[in-house]
Symmetry: C2
Subunit: 296 residues, 2 copies
């Protein structure tokens, strides 16, 4: 969130000059990606874009940063919005039942009501009904978490996840977020989308990567090659130290939705060989079986 706002109250006699505000011209209206703190740019001068809504949602997102509860001050910090604005938006969200004020700490915390927003997503995804049992079965067999994910900005969100009955660590559940660039799931997803979309995404990833880009680009390219060759890719320790996983694109046969499958876990849970000879092929098979059912 940046959108600076408006100058105000230049005020009486010798008030300090309010900081200069720039207004940018909009360029495009592509899918739009942006990560973290950066909406601005594209939308600054878009007459159709409603900033109040965007800001409010950005507040809800702020809680994904690992903090269970946040005060107005912290929210102002995170979102870069002025305090009064935060105050009013949190007030609104509280009235709507999406946030509640923890009397003890004086901070806000998200409520179950927010889950209701996500329900339509989960319930209308046929795959979940269909694939659920396959996921669970595969998870148990290979001892890894098996999940379906879709894109959110520069991350992949777990839409469904099955854990093997044994695994206690690495419980990434529905709604979890993994990086799109360094995870097997993310790369599989990127492989599944159209070329222009992919280029757009990679462009943003490049920007974010900075100096690491050459390395990252090569790694991504290798994953793409793997998928071309045998349908799946393996990522070992790039997304997170000591985590390895397999990814497979999941593309609706009518070209509609694009998702991705993965199977992942701590290194000790699976050798690279197992991933290559057993898990990968199984995932590919799973993907082929459910892809035709994705069409609504």
């Amino acid at each position: 969130m940046t959108k600076t706002g408006r100058p105000q109250r230049g005020d009486g006699a010798d008030a300090p000059p309010s900081p200069k505000r720039e207004r940018k011209a909009s360029r495009s209206a592509m899918p739009l990606i942006f990560d973290d703190d950066d909406l601005s740019e594209e939308l600054s001068a878009d007459r159709k874009f409603n900033w109040s809504l965007a800001r409010g949602l950005e507040i809800l997102r702020a809680f994904s940063g690992g903090n269970a509860s946040l005060g107005n001050g912290e929210l102002a910090e995170i979102t870069k919005l002025p305090k009064p604005t935060i105050s009013r938006l949190t007030y609104t969200l509280k009235q709507l039942g999406y946030l509640q004020l923890n009397a003890r700490s004086g901070k806000f915390e998200p409520t179950p009501a927010i889950l209701a927003l996500g329900y339509p997503v989960m319930s209308t995804m046929k795959i979940r009904m269909i694939a659920r049992d396959y996921l669970q079965q595969l998870a148990n067999e290979v001892g890894l978490t098996v999940a379906i994910g879709g894109r959110d900005r520069l991350g992949m969100i777990y839409v469904d996840a099955s854990h093997p009955s044994t695994m206690m660590t690495l419980r990434l559940d529905v709604g979890s977020r993994v990086d799109i660039a360094t995870s097997a799931m993310g790369r599989s997803f990127m492989h599944g989308i159209s070329a222009p979309e992919r280029e757009l995404l990679l462009g943003v990833i490049e920007q974010r990567a900075g100096d690491d880009w050459p390395t990252l680009r090569d790694a991504i390219q290798r994953s793409f090659d793997e998928i071309d060759r045998r349908g799946f890719c393996i990522v070992d320790g790039e997304f997170q130290e000591d985590i390895r996983g397999v990814g497979v694109p999941l593309v609706a046969s009518d070209g509609g939705a694009v998702l991705a499958l993965n199977a992942a876990g701590p290194r000790f849970a699976a050798t690279l060989e197992t991933l290559e000879t057993v898990v990968g092929p199984r995932l590919v098979h799973l993907s082929r079986s459910v892809a035709p059912m994705l069409n609504r």
Copy 2:
């Protein structure tokens, strides 16, 4: 959503007089409950309340009405907002990645990104980590869906749910919504909250119930009595024909969060006697075990 808006463009010569607009005085700023289409009232003149945000979120909620995808027209219908407003808000939500336009149907559908909003709720709820295995175990043993839920307006949202490995029907999952007044879970929740809050809620439920209120009130009272007597309540076929369930309040020992547990399924899955002698007591026990862990 009602908040009528502003008159405009009374316009040239003999234009039809734009409809009169009333502006209401605000009354209170209580927790606020409202269901379905009715925010208005309380907030109309609240300087702190941001309507754009509320409207935008209302659009996301509209998809909970069972429709997987909705066009701007339908959304206008449902939310009672004028078309241009809908147009802009859906545009904004699309830009933010929460909605995507299905090219085939020309309608919007919610995306996985929305799940990311709910993740903080799920991840910070310690109970989920702790109770998860108990839930699953109980679910398998009694052959019913066992869930934890919190309130959302006049419904209860499943925060966690475990299905018995056998059950294929009635898969109410995380994010599912059941009525607060006619479900065992809902009534258990109401039993758990403070008296003033409860009265407030019952007031709204009364309004919504209309002529059915006397019957409903008695049924709710009976459930309250059951909970007083033995810790749980049983509801058979009130929430939904052929569904029966047991509910238990789940109150943090520090009085913070209030949730509820339930175990439910189709009638054939459990006799009333089983619910009374086995499932109920087990749920009560579960509630007692995890309640102390609710404090953050």
